[in-house]
Symmetry: C2
């Protein structure tokens, strides 16, 4: 296994700190590690897996202050700004003086295998030098945890102080806790349940079909031509509607027309103007297309469809009944994709009395991102007290 | 205007009835009427509109017993079995001895203009003899009511005893009452609000894009080749998820694998087996593709997006404030597409104290169809007492 910095480590972040402090890596800068071959739960194999990751802070001598932050479906390892020029997706939760205090903890975030932000995924070269494309094997969140455990070994982390994630990141955190209970002291599972439900699978299928039915998809082997952007953008629209509450969409957009457009006009069906909410979703789709690979979207969506912490373990309750891990469970009150009741079912399956914390937000599922500071306050009173 | 029977009227339904009873048309058999040119709200024009319709029972001498039944998005005029061999979609509500008693009422149901079950729609020939396709003009529910009023004239119906519909059919009923208040005594608006909301528009956009992005769609001019079946089936999947409650999908399918298939297998992303809920939605899509035209799906979805009874009338309240119509408003308790609160907002905008009746059903929006007898009991106590 090798670890390479994506840019030279030329600065120490706290230049005014104790002179004898060890030189450390830049915070919030992507590095990669090759963690070797990976035999997969569904029977496939990746002959060599590279994981992209970022870190913040410094690992204690005893390795006891490491926190793993797991990103969601289209996220990346850039959870916090650190020394970079780019905002992180959980800056309100992670940073100096924040709940997950990078002056105290050694924080790690890893791009999931199958993704497209530096880790091995469908766009990566297969052994023959061509992109994996349609040949990329089926991966599960359990496979992802297995690969990440190797990176933890390499970083000298025997046990995480905590593994924390929301949405698919929460499912990844839960799988870590169930797969390696001796390596996880505390685990925060936010805005996701113990397994994907029929509705979540149904919505996921619609999204993957939207991509597969794009003529540019060409069965997944499109890297020598146009990417299936229309299909990916449609998938994102479907997903984004489910990430937001009905009330939020109505309050923001109601049935207003997009500026300068006429949803009712004299033209034929082919030329209708848009409502604002259509323009908004067009924008969400276009934004994702610029930063995400369609095959990765399928691979990770299907990995999330496979989410079931009880699979092969006698069911959810049996999988968690004897867990030594200290759990934090939270749901967004208005989440209509990962319903709070699903978090309650998960909490009930855990040993002891585990409460479900509620994130107050009007916007729905995405509240786990937008309410990072509120979530931080809840975690401060619990796992990070 | 001409009226043609789709098959010869050779039988009288109640052969044992009073010998002097007038010979009447067959019940539940599609006929068509040409109602002339139609200038459209959005500025377009249809030079000649044919409406397909069915009737049940006999119109009273004073024309006071006519009931109009409005179908939903992919429905047809075949609301009840009548003399046909095919079940109707509201048999539990309409028929001899049912709440909408065809021995008492003259019941009419009309395929909406833009549809594909006999009325003029995108698949119909334009004046040049080729299908309208992409040239089909934008229609609204108000246009549809205008066309239907001409058919009512032809049938000798000056005022409907009641206009009744659910989902898009409810929106059609509401538009009838608002556009022709003097022609509607009573109106039942079931499982739909006063206007389409941001979320309903957003879900509709995803569905129309699913069709438009099918390579077989060819901008809507596909009638000389393959139909955009994959796109229409995807649209239906998206819609069907919204028609059903999360709880119903979970109770029926959870995350069970389809018989003989492996959602987790060794194959590549391209060859994964399905979960049961995916197979179920594939089936829903395939069923619709066999009976519905993709352009009609777009035309009617966009007509429904345009639904706003307050448009051009000073808003919803002003549009309905002085309505002489007796309204019945009902919502399905678990409907997550047309939320009960939207029915409550509509009821509050009506003059007087109008209650919202609740249809008890675990399955969501489609409860307005599956709970036809329960709905019939509610209507029996109110409009049809």
């Amino acid at each position: 296994m090798t670890i390479a910095a994506s840019r030279p480590v030329t600065a120490v972040r706290h230049t005014a700190a104790v002179p004898s402090a060890p030189v450390r890596e830049l915070d919030g800068v992507t590095r990669t590690a090759v963690v070797g071959p990976l035999a997969l739960e569904a029977g496939g194999k990746l002959p060599e897996v590279t994981l992209a990751y970022e870190t913040w802070g410094t690992l204690d001598a005893d390795g006891g202050n490491a926190v793993l932050i797991q990103h969601a479906l289209t996220g990346s390892a850039h959870a916090a700004r650190g020394d970079s020029d780019e905002d992180g997706w959980w800056d309100g939760l992670i940073g100096p003086g924040r709940t997950i205090d990078t002056d105290r903890f050694f924080v790690v975030s890893i791009n999931i295998v199958g993704g497209c932000n530096g880790s091995t995924g469908p766009a990566s070269p297969a052994p023959d030098g061509r992109p994996w494309g349609s040949r990329f094997p089926f991966i599960t969140l359990r496979d992802a945890a297995a690969a990440e455990a190797r990176l933890a070994d390499r970083l000298g982390i025997r046990q995480w102080f905590a593994v924390v994630g929301g949405s698919m990141g929460g499912a990844r955190a839960l799988e870590w806790a169930a797969t390696f209970p001796e390596r996880v002291r505390k685990c925060a599972v936010i805005a996701v349940g113990a397994h994907s439900t029929a509705e979540q699978i149904a919505l996921a299928q619609a999204q993957t079909l939207a991509i597969r039915q794009d003529p540019d998809f060409r069965d997944g082997d499109y890297y020598d031509g146009a990417a299936p952007e229309s299909g990916l953008a449609l998938a994102r629209r479907i997903a984004h509607i489910s990430y937001r509450s009905e009330a939020e969409l109505e309050a923001r957009f109601s049935r207003k027309a997009q500026d300068g457009e006429q949803p009712l006009n004299a033209a034929s069906l082919a030329e209708r103007g848009r409502y604002q909410v259509e323009s908004y979703l067009d924008h969400q789709g276009a934004k994702l297309v610029r930063r995400f690979d369609a095959n990765s979207y399928i691979a990770l969506t299907e990995a999330l469809m496979s989410h079931d912490v009880g699979r092969g373990r006698g069911g959810v309750e049996a999988a968690l009944a004897d867990s030594p891990v200290e759990f934090f469970i939270a749901a967004v009150e208005t989440d209509r994709l990962y319903l709070p009741v699903q978090s309650a079912v998960l909490a009930a399956a855990l040993p002891g009395e585990v409460p479900v914390h509620h994130i107050a937000s009007a916007i729905g599922h995405d509240g786990f991102l937008t309410e990072a500071e509120q979530l931080g306050a809840l975690l401060k009173r619990t796992l990070f007290s």
